[in-house]
Structures are given as C-alpha cells and as structure tokens.
Amino acid sequence: MADLVITASQVKLVSGVPKRGIAGVAVAAGKSIYVDLADAERVKLADANGIGDSRRCAGVALCDAAANQPVEYADNGEVQLTTGSAIAAAGTLIVLSGNAGMMAPHGDIVAGWYTNVLGYMSADGKKLKLALLQADVAQA
C-alpha cells in the first residue's frame, strides 16, 4: 500500500485537546508534523527518514498554515481524515511515512525509516485514533 490519501478540507478533530504552534513551513490539515527544537519550536513536516527532530512525529495538523502562521495539531484523541470512503482497513496500525508529512500503514515501513507509530484506524476506516510512539531507532 502507499501513503494514506487525505483531503485537507475533510480533516477535523473528533475528540481530544489540540495543541498549537507556529508553522515553519507550509503545513496542510492532515499532515504529520514535528516540532523543530532547533528553530524556535516551529511546526514542520515530519519525515521517517529525515534528520534530527523531523524523525519524531508530534501529531497531525488540524488546519492549513503557511510559514509563520499559527497551526493547530492533535497529539491525542481522534482525528477524522476523510468524509468519503475508508482510506485504510479498521485497526490498521498507522506510522510516519518516509515522505515528508505523510502517514502510511505499518506494512510500508522499510529499512532506514525511524519508527513512529501514530495510532490506528477506527472501525469505519476514516478516523485515526492517535497513540503516538516515537522510536529513536531506524528499521533495520
């Protein structure tokens, strides 16, 4: 399978308490983000085979923002990723992708990706139940 296809305008927080930050790059709703501690804690696109903090996913963006604009993100609770058909099977474990800002089913993990569990898909396959786990080790 490939990265999940998420329509930004259909993303919304279903439950949980959101966080906010200032975007360091353009961020769209539904993107996996990290907090760059080396750049005033700006919110940027996480990347499983990136460098430094980018390999530590901090949540999922809940709105669009250009660089220097405020952005809200979820690191707990449940996020609707689509209002259309299911985008992954119920219960699928979702991880951070090696493509910046994207998320993928766990079966897509390849050598070199730093494992970041984002959560699992809800029963209808449309919502992500967040349960963040950042491993400081790459897949062998």
């Binding site: 305008s9 906010r20 709703a29 809940l62 709105c63 250009a66 604009q69 405020p70």
Partner: protein
C-alpha cells in the same frame, strides 16, 4: 478600486493577541471574519452580511470545522511580504464581498452597499503592506 488582493501565504501576525475559533465555512488567511453569535463559529464578514461588523483578520487557512486563528482589534497584521497592497490609500474598510477589504475611496454611492466597517490603517507610509486593526462599525447602512 476593487477588493484588495491578499496572498494568504504572506499573511502573518506582527504584534497583538492571537485568538482561536472553529470555522463554519472555508476561510483563507487574510480574510475578514466575524464570530457568529448564534453558533460561536467564525464566518466571513461582509458589509452586506446580516450580522454587521467583523471580529478580526484570519491568520491561517481553514476548512469548515477546522481551527482558525485570527487577530482582533489592536493587532498589527502583515498582508503582503513585500509589495504595498495600496500605494495611495491608508484607511481600509470591509467590502460587500464576504471576507474582503477595500480602500476608503470605495465607500461611494453606487459602488458600496451595506453597513460601513472601518477596519484599520495600512502602514508604513512608504510601503503599505501591513494593517493596524481598529474595527468600528457604523450604526446603520450607507444609504439609510
């Protein structure tokens, strides 16, 4: 003149308070918003709207049901990263087009419809790319 052309990606808060609401419609950074008192959600403000006035300028883009941050009165907001959005006018008013802003010179009979809302002043004088938000709405429509 027509509505000011604002590039959403170039909008940012310079100074002032950052407020948050949930959008009830799609809103782009740089658009004028109003908090609908019946729902508590953000909608596009317009001089011709049923609910007069505005509550701020959106600082990010959001679809319906997403969070939108906005700058209220007293804040300074960058509307353009480099170019002036108006080389001759400083006072800015709310347009009849939802979410849009116009120069004060557009508040004329036959052009403007609705209740005037003074949004703020463009600055600096040599490159009018920022706005200082004041936001005051008239008690009645332009031709009442």
């Amino acid at each position: 003149m027509a509505n000011y052309v604002i590039t959403s990606a170039e909008v940012k808060l310079i100074q002032g308070e950052l407020r948050r609401a949930i959008a009830n419609v799609a809103i782009a950074a740089g658009e004028a918003i109003k908090i609908d008192p019946s729902s508590g959600r953000a909608v596009l403000a317009g001089a011709d709207a049923l609910i007069a006035g505005m509550d701020g300028i959106a600082l990010n883009s959001a679809a319906a049901n997403q969070a939108v941050f906005y700058a209220p009165t007293g804040s300074d907001v960058q509307l353009s990263a480099d170019d002036s959005i108006d080389v001759t006018s400083e006072p800015v008013f709310l347009s009849s087009t939802p979410g849009k802003l116009i120069p004060h010179t557009d508040i004329v009979v036959g052009v403007f419809a609705g209740t005037p809302t003074f949004v703020g002043f463009l600055f600096p004088a040599n490159a009018r790319r920022n706005i200082r938000l004041v936001m005051a709405t008239a008690q009645s429509g332009f031709n009442d």
